[in-house]
Every structure is written in C-alpha cells, then in structure tokens.
C-alpha cells in the first residue's frame, strides 16, 4: 500500500530535479527547509527524526537535494520527507511537506477493533511495519 501523506503523494515519485524545484519555491518564499526521516508511517506521527538542522540561510535548493541524498545513504530504507517551515507572524507552521523517499515494500495498515463497555467498538489503525522493533522495520 502506497503511503499518501503531504503533497504530491498521488504523483509518481519525485526526481531530484522535482525536489530541487519544489524546495527552491519554498526557499524563495523565505521558508526554512529541512529534511526528516522515520520508520513509523502512522499519519498521526508528527515527530519524525530531523536530518541535520533546518536550512535557514541556504539561498539555493541544491543544498536540499544534497542533504536528501546524504540522508538516503544512511536511511534509504525509510520514509524521508522535505518540509518547509514558515516563521512569519501568524503562521509559525509547516507550509509544505512531501515525501521524497519510501521503503521498497510498504505493508500498509490494519484496522484494530477494541471492544469497550456495552457493545461499543473503538477503531484504530496500526501499521504492519511497527510490529517490528525500531530499526528492524522495512528490512
């Protein structure tokens, strides 16, 4: 199952040139671009690991592509995303976020039903991947 989070996730995987152009757009808008990775693809997992510091003062997006490729060398089997943070007053939030790297096989999610009091059933989802300990997911 293909993970669809953030922007462009229904499109074919972005090439390095695509990443560069998108990141350049963010930089030109004055947003700080950073690279993050994770092996826990749950949609509510907002805390991905940071790959280095956010890039506040790089005028060219080639630096972002460089960092993405450095991250791929070490975490090529995990999800990697590029996010753009807007620090301007009133926003102070993420403006862009898109996945630039994904594992070879994505096992997807299962529905977990919890029986509560009475006949109440609570539903949640869980990635098949997170059944393995951290670091051993996605082989």
């Amino acid at each position: 199952m293909r993970l669809t989070q953030g922007q462009f996730s229904y499109l074919p995987d972005l090439t390095d040139e695509d990443i560069r152009v998108q990141a350049q757009y963010a930089i030109d808008k004055g947003w700080a671009v950073s690279v993050e990775f994770t092996d826990d693809p749950h949609p509510r997992n907002t805390y991905w690991e940071m790959w280095g510091h956010p890039m506040f003062d790089n005028p060219d997006a080639a630096a972002v592509v460089y960092e993405v490729n450095e991250c791929r060398k070490l975490h090529g089997g995990k999800y990697i995303r590029v996010i753009a943070f807007d620090a301007s007053p009133g926003w102070e939030s993420i403006r862009m976020s898109f996945i630039v790297n994904r594992p070879k096989t994505e096992p997807g999610f299962r529905v977990v039903r919890q029986e509560g009091e009475g006949r109440v059933v609570r539903y949640t989802i869980e990635s098949y991947a997170v059944r393995e300990p951290e670091g051993q997911r996605y082989a």
């Binding site: 280095g52 890039m55 003062d57 790089n58 005028p59 060219d60 997006a61 080639a62 630096a63 460089y66 960092e67």
Partner: protein, 310 residues
Amino acid sequence: MTEDAQTRPATVDLAAAYEESGVREVLEELDREMIGLAPVKQRIRETAALLLVDKARRELGLASETPTLHMSFTGNPGTGKTTVALKMAELLRKLGYVRKGHLVTVTRDDLVGQYIGHTAPKTKEVLKKAMGGVLFIDEAYYLYRPENERDYGQEAIEILLQVMENNRDDLVVILAGYADRMDRFFESNPGFRSRIAHHIEFPDYSDPELLRIADIMLGQQNYTFDPAARAAMEEYIALRRGQPHFANARSIRNALDRARLRQANRLFSKAKGPLTAADLSTLTEADLRTSRVFRGGLDVDRARRAEAAE
C-alpha cells in the same frame, strides 16, 4: 533522442547570445570600475568567450558535460581578487552556469573545526550555503598544514574536493592567495590542481594606477585632493611601496581614511566661522604630510630596519 534533435536549433547567433546574456554589461563594468589589471581583464574576457561558445555548443548538442569552472586567483593583497570574484559570480550567473550568483567568502576558520568531528559539518554547512553561487576561499593555502599531520584542514580539503567533483553543476569554487604559497599548496595537493581549470594572476598596481584608484575612492565619498595634496599622495604611494606590509589598493584606502581623520581634526581645531562644502570635502597637503610614511614608516619597522643595518 530524435525528438531532442528536432527541438534543437540548427544555428546559433553568438552575437545575439552575447547581447542577450548581459555579459557585455558585466565586462564593461569591470573595465570601468577596475583600474589596470589588464591581464586579468583579458583572461576574464577569454573565459567569458569560452563559456559563451560552450553554452552554444551545448544548445546544438555538441557537448553535454558542464565544463570545470573552478578557478584560482593568485596575487598580492589588495590587488582586487575579491572584487573580481564578485564580478565573476555575476558573469557566471548571466551565462547560466550558476543559478543564484551570490559570493560566499570564507577563510580557514570557517571551514576547519577545532575538535574531532567538528570539521565535516562545518565545511558542509559552508558548501551548502554557497550552492547556486560561488565559494571564495581566501588564503586557501592555510587549509593545508604539513607541519601538523593531525591538522583537521586535510579533512576539509577532502570534502571540498569531493563536492567540487560531484556537485560541479551546483557551485564554483575560487581559491585565492599569494602566488608563491598557492603554488606550494597546489604542489602538495595535486587533487586541487587537476580540478581547477582557470588560473588567473593578479599583478601589482603601478604607482599611477594607485593614484587613479585614490582619486576614485575619494570621489565615491565626495572628497577631493587639492593640487598639493595630490602631489603628496603621489610621493606617498612611492614611499609606501618600499615599506613593509604594503597591500596595494587596501593600503591606499587606509591612507585615505587616516587623511580624512586628520582633515576632520584640523577643521575641528582650527576652523573659525562658517565652513563651505568645499572646505569640508578638500584634503590638503598637511593632511597627508603628517603621515608616518614620510618619516620612514612605523616606529617598530624603523627600529627593526636600523637593527638589521647595524
């Protein structure tokens, strides 16, 4: 491939490309703003022509590789290396070889860390900042310190070389420094020599050129020499050249700054009654003649020379 061939133009108009790219303005600016430096200007014009032709060749599909653009600027201090690097960055941007055309100036301190593991992130940070533009490494030979084999400079050099090779499309590196020390640096780091295509030498300015530079510097700040002061300046340049730590145009700028200081002091202590704009913007002979250069330089240097003569 066939589609590519169809979209390719059959001919290229170099003159039009030259006009369109705005290279002419940069070259004219260079001619206008920089005094002397004839061999440098010549080399830059040649480089611009090469890059323009190369671009045209790529449009016709005759070449596909990005040419190596890394350069080394060698010359004495104050000969305009940084200023020319700025112009070069603009030139490269207009020709489409770098995307942003900004200049990041660094020295050893910005690249090399103090502790183990400190250097690589520092160097990479600088390289990322320079991507899309030009990285100007002043006094590059300080990176290599053969006397200390545990020096972290070597680590910075390795990262630099790797990025210079792999990210040739993303940034251009200019190494700058004194000619003889740069030569020794290249000898001990053959990796650099082979990755640098353009070696440009900056000659020292002649005395009349320095005088013209002084005129221009003053003009930019709305000051002028009176005729006696200009003669004093001429004499000053000849004397200053013979003294230690002569740094071409930089020495001239410092001399003028000090002359302005003395002029301000003179006006403040002596002037009575209202001053005209001309009074405020004229440097007189006295402002220059008080310089220690006319008395044989700094006291320390004079003492040292007397010692040597004994």
